[in-house]
Symmetry: C2
Subunit: 254 residues, 2 copies
C-alpha cells in the first residue's frame, strides 16, 4: 500500500489543483490519500471534493499557528509550509499501522500542486527503507538529484545548501512505514532552518546515505515536477462591484 | 466523438503540463487529441510523450511567425497565442471529417495548462450547435460566465470587453463539427483585436446568441479552470556552472 500525505490550504486554485491531482491518483492502485487541511475546520470544498473523488482517503485538519503562517505578502520560501499537517498525517499513519497488522506499506509526501508521473508510484512501491529520485523544476535548476555512483548515493546535485544531510526536496523520497514504527518520534518541525525539513525527518528515522535506494533508472529519469500554480489576480472583482453593484456569485464554488 | 485541439509550445513546464493533462483525458472515452506544436519540427519531447500516453492522437506542428510571437519579456496577453495551431487543428479535422462518413462529433479548444473536470466532457458530448459554460479563474474574476435567463444565454458576466459578441474564454465553449463543414472558411486570425478570437470563430460559423446551449447545470457549476503554471526561474544553473564547471545534464529530459 502507498500512503500519500498531502497538506493543503485554501486558495483560489485549491480545487483545480486537487481535481487534477486526484485524476493522477485514480490511475494508481493500492493507494490511500491522507489529506490534511491547514484550517480550523474541514472545509466544504475539500470535503465534497473528496467524497466524489473515487479515491480511498482520510481527511484531517490542523491549522498552522499565526506566528509561523505565511502571509499574502511573504515570499513563499520565508516560512515552512505544511509542517503540522504532515506531522498529523504521520501520527494517523502510525496509529493506524499499529491498530491493524501492518501490511507492507510506503509513505510519500505529495504536495497538492506538484505534477506526478504514474510511473513514480511504481518506483516507490518497492521501498525497503528509503527510495530516492530526481525532482524536476526545483532549486533554481532544471532538476535536483541524488548523485549515484555504482548504485549508491554519494551526494546531492543541488546548488542550494548541498551540505544538508539529505539535500533534496520533499517530493524526492519515500519511506517504508516500518521505519516510522521503529522511530516513533521522528517527525518534521517548525524549529529548523530553511531546507532542513527532509533532513530532520530522515535523520530522526536513523537513515544513512548508504541506506538510500536510487530509483527512476538510477536517478536518470524525471518522474515528478515541482510545478507551482500561478496565483490568480482578482483585479476586476472590485471594479465589477462598482459597475454592477455585485461581483461574482459567492455561491458558485470555484 | 470529442476532438480536442491543443496548441502547445516548448517551455520548461511543458512536459509536466502535458503529463497531467493526459491523465485527465485518459478518464474520458471516445476522445481524440489533436495536438499542434508551435514549432518548426515535431519535438522529441512531445513525440515521445504522445507515443506512450495511451491516448488517441494526431500530432502536427506549425510555427507562429516571429512578428506575432510572444517574446520572453512581453506580457502574456500582448499577442494572440495558438492561433495558427488551432487553425491547423481545424483544417485537419475538416479534412478528416470529409474523408470518412461523419459520425456525430464535437470540437473543443483545450489549452495545455488549464484544468478540466472529467464531467466537462460529458456536458459537451451532446452539443447540437454550440455548448457554453462558465470558466473559473479568468478575466481577473473568480469566474466568467454566460448569463442565462430561462435556459437562454442573454449576455456575459465578464468585466473585460463585455460588448464582444461572444465574450468568453476559449475554454468556455464546444462546437458541433457539422458547423465546421457548413462554414468551411471559419477560423481564428491574428488580425483581430485582443479578446476577439472566440467571437471571430463563432461569428464565422454563423452562430447567434440564441443558438447557445447552456451546460453545467444552467451555467451554475465550474468544470474548467484557467490555471496557469508558474514559470520556473533557473537562477542557479549559471552559478552551478561556475561552481562545478557544468550545470544540469541536458540529456535529462525534464
Ligand atoms: O500555508 C500553507 C501553505 C502551503 N500549504 C501546503 O503545503 C504544501 C507546500 O506548499 P507550496 O506548494 O505552496 O510550497 P512550494 O511550492 O513553495 O514548495 C502544499 O501542499 C500546500 O497546499 C499549507 O498547508 N499551508
Ligand atoms: O507562443 C506560444 C504561447 C502559447 N501557446 C499555446 O497556446 C495556448 C494558450 O497559451 P497560454 O496558456 O500561455 O495562454 P493564457 O494562459 O495566457 O491564456 C497554450 O496551449 C499554449 O501552450 C503556443 O502555442 N505558442
Ligand atoms: Mn508547491
Ligand atoms: Mn493558459
Amino acid at each position: 500500500m502507498i500512503y500519500l500525505i498531502t497538506p493543503t490550504h485554501s486558495r483560489l486554485e485549491q480545487k483545480a489543483d486537487l481535481v487534477r491531482l486526484s485524476y493522477t491518483l485514480l490511475h494508481v492502485y493500492n493507494i490511500h490519500w491522507i489529506i490534511i487541511e491547514d484550517s480550523d475546520i474541514k472545509t466544504p470544498v475539500v470535503s465534497n471534493f473528496l467524497k466524489t473523488s473515487g479515491l480511498n482517503y482520510t481527511h484531517r485538519n490542523v491549522k498552522t499557528p499565526p506566528e509561523v503562517k505565511l502571509t499574502d505578502t511573504d515570499p513563499n520560501w520565508l516560512k515552512p509550509r505544511g509542517v503540522l499537517q504532515r506531522n498529523a498525517g504521520l501520527q494517523w499513519l502510525r496509529e493506524t499501522a499499529l491498530k491493524k497488522k501492518l501490511e507492507p506499506a510506503v509513505v510519500y509526501f505529495a504536495d497538492d500542486d506538484n505534477t506526478y508521473s504514474m510511473q513514480l508510484f511504481e518506483e516507490m512501491r518497492y521501498t525497503r527503507k528509503v527510495s530516492v529520485w530526481p525532482v524536476g523544476l526545483v532549486g533554481g535548476l532544471r532538476y535536483e538529484s541524488p548523485i549515484v555512483v555504482r548504485g549508491t548515493v554519494t551526494g546531492w546535485f543541488t546548488y542550494w545548501k548541498p551540505q544538508r544531510p539529505f539535500a533534496m526536496d520533499m517530493a524526492g523520497f519515500a519511506v517504508n512505514v516500518r521505519l516510522l514504527l521503529q522511530h516513533p518520534n521522528a517527525q518534521f518541525t517548525n524549529a529548523v532552518q530553511r531546507g532542513y525539513q527532509e533532513s530532520t525527518l530522515l535523520s530522526g528515522l536513523g537513515v544513512m546515505l548508504s541506506d538510500l535506494e536510487p530509483k527512476a533508472n538510477g536517478c536518470s529519469k524525471i518522474l515528478v515536477w515541482h510545478t507551482r500554480t500561478e496565483k490568480t489576480k482578482l483585479k476586476n472583482e472590485d471594479k465589477m462591484k462598482q459597475k454592477l453593484g455585485r461581483g461574482s456569485d459567492l455561491n458558485m464554488e470555484v
